[in-house]
């Protein structure tokens, strides 16, 4: 490991686990319907804001670093973040009195989001002693190499009429977003508490600024009351590619010049703040002279 510029650098290895909370994110609206709708009364609609940062969730990280002197280290981390979130788009249970009949409406429209991200984080760490422990500040780039989002959209609706008739339907629309690279940054401040010269505990609080634009999305399920018309379709017909710009055109009677499988890029915010706890191992000097 006698590379130029890292002579006598101490090598260290960190294993850490933590949790990220949303820092901003995309705004979604949740609605709950209740009460009694009639000619003289309105049903009650309660709205609630929900911010979704797709990076919200648990993360694990392995970091290998070179401590060049008492103050400065350079390092590279491999991070895996996984998150499960849910949006209650519209839920409710209300009565609709239309005069000639009364309908009891029960609805549940929700979206489940499952995200996974592998990222590489090259960074620089400045540290200083505070009593028996080390206080450090860290700044790193964050480059995601493998990111995916599985979005599951579900609708369940049931209307019961006063005559006893029941109309219900269930709808699934699942999409798998993948591809594309996200580049952002990460900052942290923390403490290293040494237990021995070779081993210690690390605690840090961090914030990430990261945005992901997937390259493509594939429809994985489209089901209405048990029927899935997409089940025999080829992948190409179910996949949409995201691009910065495109032109679609159509001339009636001359076949389709329409481009059904392109769409403009979307952005998925992954910014979070949170904490990490971990183990710190000093592995010795990179080049003993």
């Amino acid at each position: 490991m006698s590379l130029p510029g890292i002579y006598n650098a101490q090598v260290y290895l960190d294993f850490s686990t933590g949790y990220g909370f949303p820092l901003g994110g995309k705004t979604f609206y949740e609605r709950y319907d209740s009460g009694h709708e009639s000619a003289t009364t309105n049903k009650v609609q309660s709205y609630r804001q929900k911010n979704i940062s797709y990076g919200t969730g648990a993360s694990q990280e392995i970091t290998i670093g070179l401590k060049h002197n008492d103050l400065i280290s350079t390092e590279i981390g491999l991070n895996y973040t996984s998150a499960n979130q849910r949006i209650e788009n519209v839920t409710g249970n209300y009565t609709d009195d239309m005069g000639w009949t009364t309908v009891q409406s029960v609805s549940d429209i929700n979206t489940k989001l499952h995200t996974r991200m592998f990222s590489v984080n090259p960074g620089i760490r400045f540290e200083t002693k505070m009593g028996g422990s080390q206080f450090f500040l860290k700044m790193a780039a964050r480059v995601s190499l493998l990111t995916s989002l599985h979005r599951k959209y579900f609708v369940s609706s049931r209307d019961t009429y006063s005559s006893g008739n029941v109309y219900s339907w269930v709808y699934y629309n699942d999409r798998y977003y993948s591809g594309g690279m996200a580049i952002g940054g990460s900052i942290a401040l923390g403490w290293t508490i040494p237990v021995s010269p070779k081993f210690g505990f690390r605690f840090q609080v961090f914030a990430n600024a990261l945005n992901w634009s997937p390259k493509k999305v594939k429809l994985t399920r489209y089901e209405v009351n048990g029927n899935d018309p997409t089940i025999d379709k080829e992948d190409d017909l179910l996949t949409t590619f995201y691009v910065n710009e495109f032109t679609e055109n159509e001339i009636t009677g001359q076949g389709a010049g329409w481009v059904p499988n392109n769409d403009i890029k979307e952005a998925y915010p992954f910014s979070t703040y949170g904490f990490n706890i971990g183990l710190h191992f000093n592995l010795g000097t990179s080049n003993k002279r």
């Binding site: 820092l23 705004t27 609206y29 500040l137 700044m139 940054g185 691009v243 495109f246 032109t247 952005a267």
Partner: protein
């Protein structure tokens, strides 16, 4: 004269208690890391002699509200250890962003042209109290700073204009403007909370003055608390004064309940919207130490 003396004495007192101070002024440019999703589109349709030719161009046009020039001022305290503290204020001057959707539609007898245009301009102050750790050298020093950041006095001006013109090729007298509506909203209030980290390289010109080059990462978002319509021009007429309050004022809330018709004499309550303001900033400036009597004891 008395004020100058008072300021000097105050500064000397503070320095004698806390140690060495510096001020730093810099100019910078912020590149948006995330933006409001939007797109330009240009639709052309020709329905001539029974044949419909349709072309639509779509172009990604995210609005990076945090992008643009910045003016930064820092007051920092240098302790005897590498660990220090600084308080930075940045003013984001903002850029004007424009998003446009156009339609040009022709047939044997008519031409319709329309444009829906939105403009965005964001300005605001960002305060960042940061811990700093530095590596002091004779000619060059390096410094890393990490801390929370707060957006205050955020101000988003959002304009919207829709205009549509109709041309009758058979009866030209029936041609004219069929829609003309322009209004401007201002969104403000609320504090944005995030975090910032920066790396600075300092070139020491002499003991007092250093040139500073900095790179920052900012994770920040903002939800304005209020909306206020600034103007509304409809077919060339100013209709602002005739609008009900609910069409001129908005209160943004995390949650609310609707139980009956909207009271138009009150501001409209609606759900908060998050505006992404994360950015990567570059800056160049000057750092001036205010007290050279105290020797540095950096590592």
């Amino acid at each position: 004269m008395k004020l100058t003396t008072l300021l000097t004495l105050t500064l000397l007192s503070v320095q004698s208690i806390f140690g060495q101070f510096y001020i730093e002024s810099s100019f910078g440019y912020a590149m948006g890391l995330n933006g409001v999703e939007d797109e330009d589109s240009h639709l052309n349709t020709n329905y001539i002699s029974g044949q419909n030719v349709f072309t639509r161009e779509r172009i990604k046009n995210f609005q990076y509200l945090s992008a643009g020039p910045t003016i930064n001022t820092s007051i920092g305290w240098l302790s005897e250890r590498p660990l220090s503290f600084r308080f930075q204020t940045s003013y984001h001057l903002g850029n004007q962003g424009t998003v446009s959707q156009t339609i040009h539609s022709t047939s044997d007898s008519t031409i319709i042209d329309s444009e829906d245009k939105q403009t965005y301009r964001f300005t605001g102050f960002k305060w960042s109290p940061c811990f700093t750790v530095r590596k002091q050298g004779e000619k060059w020093s390096g410094e890393i700073a990490v801390g929370p950041s707060f957006l205050i006095l955020g101000n988003l001006i959002r304009g919207s204009q829709f205009i549509e013109e109709f041309t009758d090729l058979i009866t030209p007298s029936q041609s004219g403007v069929t829609s003309d509506d322009a209004y401007v909203w201002k969104y403000y209030g609320g504090i944005g909370i995030g975090a910032t980290g920066s790396f600075s390289a300092l070139y020491h010109v002499n003991k007092s003055i250093s040139i500073s080059l900095g790179l920052s990462i900012n994770a920040l978002q903002w939800s304005p608390k209020y909306g206020m319509k600034l103007s509304h021009i409809y077919y060339g007429q100013d209709i602002f004064d005739d609008l009900p309050t609910s069409d001129k004022e908005i209160i943004f809330s995390s949650e609310y309940t609707v139980d009956g018709p909207i009271d138009t004499s009150e501001p409209l309550t609606t759900l908060k919207v998050n505006y992404p303001l994360s950015s990567i900033d570059f800056k160049i400036g000057l750092r001036i130490k205010l007290n050279q009597n105290q020797e540095e004891h950096d590592s």
